[in-house]
Amino acid sequence: MSERISRGDVEHVARLARLELTDDEIDLFTGQLGDILEHAADIEALDVGDIEPTSHPLPLVNVLRRDEIVASVDRDEVLAQAPANEAGQFRVPPVLGEEP
């Protein structure tokens, strides 16, 4: 098993991603993610000092639209796809805690 990523890291990342992993999956992912990160060591080791990052292959800027209302989609069509709805809204189990 690689030392690049620990079981604890995997568990932390799973919580952030809202995934529940079995013990076996934690072991599996710890190993596999470690291997992938090991492969990425070539990048990690790179001296990239003053190189600007590219987040996007295109040099486009200022793509804007006019502030004009466009017809919205039909609420019933959208709600029909929801696992549960009530009174024109999406229904979910209770929320614990508060907004961040």
């Binding site: 804007l64 024109g88 809204q89 979910v92 929320v95």
Partner: protein
């Protein structure tokens, strides 16, 4: 969001007087304002408060798979306008994703700005000259809203929740202050001042009660004279300026109590409980601070030209601080009264009236007292000035002028016409004189007692004649003019 760097206080630093001695309050404010656009930030759905649930939604603001955002040019323009009004640098900026799971957020990330915000490094000068630094004012999207059903509507006791995404994607600017505020009054004044700027620039309607302006306060305390940075708490759910003061006061005292008796408070988000008059702990912050920001790949950078920024500056209206200074210079009235007028947006009425020759102090007093109404949209600078002129010319008594102003507020129009409609027409001197002559002819005995009697008789009879004239004119005659005529005739 705020890097909590707060320099140590100096001798000039104000001290919050209500806190226990030896403690200094340190406050930074994060204010979210909804921009006054027709549509949302990334789609053509209406930016409208109070619609039926989920009627202003589309694939983009519902975060449906495959949907993409396109920036609203008006939202960007308003954000830059606000930035310039706050004295910020308007920068090349990029949108970023702030990743966390949240029911009201359809994509489970918020599209916002991170290390390259549109506006940075500005300031707001308060009425008393105190300056609060602005770290940044960045563009981001609003969330939807959920209601919690059952359990008395309280979130933790609810049976289930319902989500409405009408507000999701509404354009916001978040204005992040530096932690410069040291008193509750300054915190409140900051919010009032910012609200004035938002209204003056047309950036937002800034209604705290409708949630189009929302204030969060980062509160910490430290021993007076220290420059250390102590644990802060972010207080949310503050619904009025008054609540802001109460919430800061409560939170500061809670911190002081903890530091004195128990040790450091936890760094956390807390919620202001208006009814209970206290803050309560928000959700646990476990894992929550790891937002994994990265540049939004579905949007491209915003790169305003210097011409664009110059055009914004050129179209900038006078802002509250400048308006206060102008009215103060013109009127020499009380600074608080001037502050009230500028806040209400009535300073222009005062300036026009004063320019036309009216007494500044009187104008300011009249507006402060008699125009303290929510809706004064019918009162124009022209009509108000005309009214003031009629009053100072003696065409209207003070009481009459007040009544005409009431009519102006209610229905607007020309104050002379409104006065006429009320029958306040000033009597023409000739008409009044013939009325006096008729009375003298009808009452020869009384006239001789007036013209030849002693002082007592003269006084009594003046009262008689004036009374008769007022009766005949239904109170329209000017008492002073009547007295003058009687004196002339008897001479």
């Amino acid at each position: 969001m705020t890097d909590f760097v707060a320099p140590a206080s100096t001798d000039d630093t104000p001290i919050e007087p209500t806190l226990p001695g030896g403690w200094e309050l340190v406050v930074g404010l994060e204010v979210h304002v909804e921009l006054d656009t027709a549509t949302k930030l990334f789609c053509g759905c209406a930016n409208q408060f109070g619609s039926e649930p989920n009627t202003n939604v589309c694939p983009t603001c519902l975060g449906l798979p495959g949907s993409l955002p396109v920036m609203n040019e008006t939202a960007v323009a308003l954000a830059m306008r606000l930035g310039r009004a706050l004295g910020c640098d308007v920068n090349r900026s990029v949108m970023a994703r702030k990743n966390y799971f949240y029911l009201d957020m359809p994509k489970d990330f918020q599209t916002t700005q991170y290390d390259q915000p549109t506006n940075s490094d500005g300031k707001i000068e308060l009425g008393d000259g105190f300056v609060v630094g602005i770290e940044r004012a960045h563009i981001e999207e609003d969330t939807g809203k959920s209601t919690h059903v059952g359990g008395g509507g309280r979130i933790n006791d609810a049976e289930y929740s319902l989500v409405d995404y009408n507000r999701a994607g509404v354009p916001l600017v978040e204005i992040v202050s530096r932690p410069d505020v040291r008193t509750i009054e300054h915190a409140k004044a900051y919010v009032e001042e910012l609200r004035g700027i938002l209204l003056a620039t047309g950036v937002s309607d800034a209604r705290m009660e409708e949630g189009s302006m929302r204030v969060d306060a980062n509160v910490s305390v430290r021993p007076h004279g220290s420059d250390e940075l102590r644990t802060r708490c972010e207080i949310k759910n503050i619904n009025s300026v008054r609540s802001l003061g109460r919430a800061i006061d409560y939170e500061a005292r809670r911190h002081i109590d903890l530091w004195t008796n128990a040790g450091a408070p936890d760094q956390e988000t807390r919620h202001w409980d208006e009814e209970g008059g206290r803050t309560t702990s928000g959700r646990s912050k476990e894992d929550a601070d790891d937002y994994r920001y990265f540049q939004e790949p579905d949007l491209v950078p915003l790169e305003p030209s210097s011409e664009e920024i110059a055009a914004i500056d050129a179209s900038m209206p006078m802002l509250p601080a400048a308006r206060r200074a102008a009215l103060l210079a013109a009127s020499d009235a009380d600074a608080d009264a001037i502050g009230i007028l500028v806040e209400r947006g009535q300073d222009e009425l005062a300036m026009v009236a004063i320019d036309s020759g009216a007494d500044g102090d009187k104008v300011v007093t009249r507006l402060v007292n008699d125009l303290a109404v929510d809706d004064w949209s019918n009162v124009t600078a022209e009509s108000f000035t005309a009214l003031i002129q009629m009053e100072s010319a003696g065409d209207l008594s003070a009481t009459q002028a007040k009544q005409v102003l009431g009519d102006l507020i209610e229905k607007g129009g020309d104050p002379a016409a409104l006065a006429a409609a009320r029958g306040f027409e000033a009597m023409d001197t000739g008409e009044l004189e013939s009325l006096v002559d008729q009375l003298i002819a009808d009452h020869p005995d009384e006239w001789s007692r007036f013209s030849r009697g002693d002082d007592g008789d003269r006084k009594k009879m003046q009262g008689f004649f004036t009374g008769q004239i007022m009766k005949a004119t239904q109170g329209q005659a000017d008492g002073k003019a009547v007295a003058q005529l009687l004196a002339q005739k008897s001479a």
